[in-house]
C-alpha cells in the first residue's frame, strides 16, 4: 500500500470503526437474530420461529396493510403536490421566491415532536382549529383520534405537509435544469403552457420525480414518528400502526429482538421490491 493511501485510511479509520460497529455489525447481527427464538433465555437457533410467525401474524398484516394504504395514497398525492409547488416556486411571477422556498422547506427542519404536538392540537376534536374551520362550512366535528379513517387521513396529511416542500425543492432543481429556450421553441410551435407542462416539463422531470418517489417509498416504509406521536402509538386500536411502529413494539416494548429483526428485513425487502418496480416502470423508453 502506498504511503499516501495509508495516510488516507489512517484518517478514515475512526469513522470506519464507528461505521462497522454501529452500522455493518447490527445489519449482519440482526439477520442472524431473525433466525433465533428470543422469547425465552437462552436464545436458541430456530429458523422457522420468527419467519413462520411472520407469514401468519394478523398484527403484522394489519401494519403492512396500513403502511401500504399510506404509501398508495400519500406518495402519489405528495409527489403531485410537490411538482405543482415546484412549478409555482419556479415562477417568475412569484414575489419573494427565496423566502417562499425556505418556508415550504422549513417543515423538514422542525423537530418531529414539536410538529406532532402542533398537529395534535390542530386536529383536536373539541377545540382544534381544523374542526372549527370545518364547522364554518357545515361539516360536523370529526373525531380525528378515535375514528380509524380520520386517523389515517390525519397521518397522511401530516406526512404530506412535512415532506412536500422537501420534494418540491428537489423537483425545483430539476425544473431549473430545463433550458428556457426549449419552452421558447414550444411557444413558437404554438404549444400552450398547459401542454408544455405535460409534454415537456413532466417527461424531462421524470428521472428526478422517480428519485423522489423511491425516497418517499423508503421513508413511508419506515414511517414511525407520526403514528407514534400524533395518533398515540398507532391508534385507535392499531388503525394507524405502521410496519415501523410494529417493529418498534416488537423490539423495544416486547423485547422480542428475533421477531423484530425478521420484520426489519421484511420492511427492507418490500422497500427494495417497490423501488425496483418504480425504477422499472419509470425507465427511459428506448
Amino acid at each position: 500500500m502506498r504511503a499516501t493511501t495509508r495516510t488516507a485510511y489512517g484518517f478514515l479509520t475512526p469513522y470506519l470503526l464507528i461505521f462497522a460497529a454501529f452500522w455493518v455489525w447490527p445489519i449482519i447481527y440482526s439477520f442472524y437474530l431473525s433466525f433465533l427464538s428470543t422469547r425465552v433465555q437462552p436464545w436458541t437457533f430456530n429458523p422457522t420461529f420468527n419467519w413462520g410467525r411472520l407469514i401468519i401474524d394478523p398484527a403484522f398484516f394489519n401494519a403492512f396493510k396500513n403502511t401500504m394504504i399510506i404509501l398508495v395514497i400519500q406518495v402519489p398525492v405528495m409527489i403531485a403536490l410537490a411538482t405543482l409547488l415546484a412549478v409555482l416556486l419556479n415562477s417568475h411571477l412569484l414575489k419573494a421566491r427565496g423566502i417562499m422556498r425556505f418556508a415550504f422547506f422549513a417543515p423538514v427542519v422542525v423537530g418531529e415532536v414539536a410538529y406532532a404536538a402542533v398537529f395534535r392540537l390542530m386536529f383536536q376534536a373539541d377545540f382544534g382549529v381544523i374542526n372549527k374551520l370545518l364547522a364554518l362550512v357545515g361539516v360536523a366535528p370529526i373525531s380525528w383520534s378515535s375514528n380509524p379513517t380520520a386517523a389515517m387521513a390525519l397521518i397522511i396529511t401530516a406526512v404530506t405537509w412535512r415532506w412536500v416542500g422537501y420534494n418540491a425543492i428537489i423537483i425545483l432543481s430539476g425544473l431549473q435544469s430545463i433550458p428556457e429556450d426549449v419552452y421558447e421553441a414550444a411557444t413558437l410551435d404554438k404549444v400552450s403552457k398547459t401542454r408544455q407542462f405535460f409534454f415537456i416539463t413532466l417527461p424531462l422531470l421524470r428521472p428526478i420525480i422517480l428519485v423522489c418517489v423511491v425516497l418517499s417509498v423508503i421513508g413511508t416504509m419506515q414511517l414511525f414518528a407520526e403514528p407514534f406521536l400524533i395518533t398515540n402509538r398507532g391508534g385507535p386500536g392499531g388503525a394507524t400502526e405502521t410496519l415501523g411502529l410494529f417493529l418498534y413494539r416488537q423490539g423495544f416494548t416486547v423485547l422480542n429482538f428475533g421477531y423484530a429483526s425478521a420484520v426489519a428485513y421484511t420492511i427492507a425487502a418490500i422497500a427494495i421490491v417497490i423501488s425496483v418496480i418504480n425504477f422499472w416502470l419509470g425507465r427511459d423508453p428506448k
Binding site: 426549449v182 414550444a186 413558437l188 409534454f199
Partner: protein, 361 residues
C-alpha cells in the same frame, strides 16, 4: 409578401434602453444579417421580431401586418436557436413534428412536411435518434428542420453556428446559403462573426449599442463604411487605424501627417473643409498596403510577428507611436525573417475618419 418592417422599434429593461429606435426594412425573400459585437442588441432585436420579447415602443410588421400584439406562434415566423433548443426526450422525428401534432395538423400533412424537411437537410437516417445521440452539426440540422416544417414566411436564426467547430461552421454556412436559395424565404440571421455576415447576407445591418450603424450590401459596407466602427467591424483582419493630423488643406483635398517614423504625409481627396491641426484617423485595410515600389506614401515599420499561411502572410508590425499594423502580403516568401518592412499607403485605398469616428468624404 413576407417582408419585415421595423419602425422606430425600442426596447427598455426598466430605465435602461437597449434598442434605440431602430428603423429597418427587410424585403420579401431577402437574407438579412444582423451583426455586431456582444451586447449590441442584435439578439434582442431578433427576439422582438419573433415575439419572445415585448417591444417598448415602435412598430413591427411582418408581411404588411402589424404584429406588435400578435402571439409569437401566429407571426408566421420560425426560429433556430443558438443552443438548438431541441426537445431532449423526443426523437428527431418527434422534434420535427411536435408543433404540428400539438396543433392538430392531419397525419399525412405532418408526414409530408417531415419527409420534405428531412430530405432537404439530409437527416433521414437520423429520424429515430434522440438529440443526445447526434453531433453538434446534426443537432443544428434538426433545429433548422424544425423551423422548415412550420413552412414559415420568415426564418429567424439566432447565432446558429456559434456552438460548432470551425470546419462544421463553414459547412453549415454553405448549407444555410443553399437552403435560402432553395426555399427563397425571407431570412434574418444574427451573428457576431463578420465572415458569416459577409458570405451569407444580401444585406447586412451593423449594430452597436442598440443603434443601427449602417445598412447595406456586404461589399458596399466593405468598400464604403459610414464610420470607423463599421470600417473596423467589416473585413478580416480588421482595418488598421493610425492617428494623424491635418497639415495642409486645399479645396477638394487634405494633406495629413501620421505620427510614424519621419511623419509620413498623405494627400487625399475630400469634399469636407478642414483646419490645419485637426486630429483625424487614417484607416487602411491590411490587404490594401502596397509593396515598397507601390504608389503612395512610404512607411517603414518594424516587424513584430509574421504569420505565413502559404499564399499570403500577415505581418504584425509596430509603429513608433505604439500602434500595431496588420499587413497582408502576397508572394512574400522573400520577406521571411526580415525585421523591417517598407510598405506604401495608396491614397485611393485610404479612409479618413474625424475625431467622432464619422467617415470624412
Amino acid at each position: 409578401m413576407s417582408g419585415v418592417t421595423l419602425s422606430n422599434v425600442q426596447k427598455r429593461f426598466g430605465a435602461v434602453e437597449v434598442i434605440h429606435g431602430v428603423d429597418l426594412t427587410v424585403d420579401d425573400g431577402e437574407f438579412v444579417v444582423f451583426v455586431g459585437p456582444s451586447g449590441c442588441g442584435k439578439s434582442t432585436l431578433l427576439r422582438m421580431i419573433a415575439g419572445l420579447e415585448d417591444i417598448s415602443g415602435g412598430e413591427i410588421s411582418i408581411g404588411g401586418t402589424t404584429v406588435n400584439d400578435v402571439e409569437p406562434a401566429d407571426r408566421g415566423i420560425a426560429m433556430v436557436f443558438q443552443s438548438y433548443a431541441l426537445y431532449p426526450h423526443m426523437t428527431v422525428e418527434q422534434n420535427l413534428s411536435f408543433g404540428l401534432r400539438m396543433n392538430g395538423k392531419p397525419r399525412d400533412d405532418i408526414a409530408r412536411r417531415v419527409t420534405k424537411a428531412a430530405s432537404i437537410l439530409q437527416i433521414e437516417p437520423l429520424l429515430a435518434r434522440r438529440p443526445k445521440q447526434l453531433s453538434g452539426g446534426q443537432r443544428q440540422r434538426v433545429a433548422i428542420g424544425r423551423a422548415i416544417v412550420r413552412e414559415p414566411d420568415v426564418f429567424l436564426f439566432d447565432e446558429p453556428l456559434s456552438n460548432l467547430d470551425a470546419e462544421l461552421r463553414v459547412q453549415m454556412r454553405v448549407e444555410i446559403a443553399r437552403l435560402h436559395k432553395e426555399l427563397g424565404t425571407t431570412m434574418i440571421y444574427v451573428t457576431h462573426d463578420q465572415t458569416e455576415a459577409m458570405t451569407l447576407a444580401d444585406k447586412i445591418v451593423v449594430l452597436r449599442d442598440g443603434r443601427v450603424e449602417q445598412v447595406g450590401a456586404p461589399l458596399d459596407l466593405y468598400d464604403d463604411p459610414a464610420n470607423r466602427f463599421v470600417a473596423g467591424f467589416v473585413g478580416s483582419p480588421r482595418m488598421n487605424f493610425m492617428a494623424a493630423k491635418v497639415v495642409d488643406t486645399t479645396p477638394g483635398s487634405v494633406t495629413i501627417e501620421t505620427d510614424n517614423h519621419g511623419s509620413a504625409r498623405l494627400t487625399l481627396p475630400v469634399r469636407q473643409a478642414f483646419q490645419t491641426g485637426d486630429a483625424v484617423t487614417l484607416g487602411i485595410r491590411p490587404e490594401h498596403f502596397g509593396g515598397p515600389d507601390g504608389d503612395g506614401t512610404r512607411l517603414t515599420v518594424n516587424v513584430d510577428v509574421a504569420e505565413h499561411l502559404g499564399a499570403t502572410s500577415f505581418v504584425y508590425a509596430n509603429m513608433a507611436t505604439g500602434e500595431q499594423l496588420i499587413i497582408e502580403r502576397e508572394q512574400s516568401r522573400s520577406e521571411m525573417g526580415k525585421t523591417e518592412l517598407t510598405i506604401t499607403i495608396p491614397p485611393a485605398r485610404a479612409y479618413l475618419f474625424d475625431s467622432a469616428g464619422d467617415r470624412i468624404r
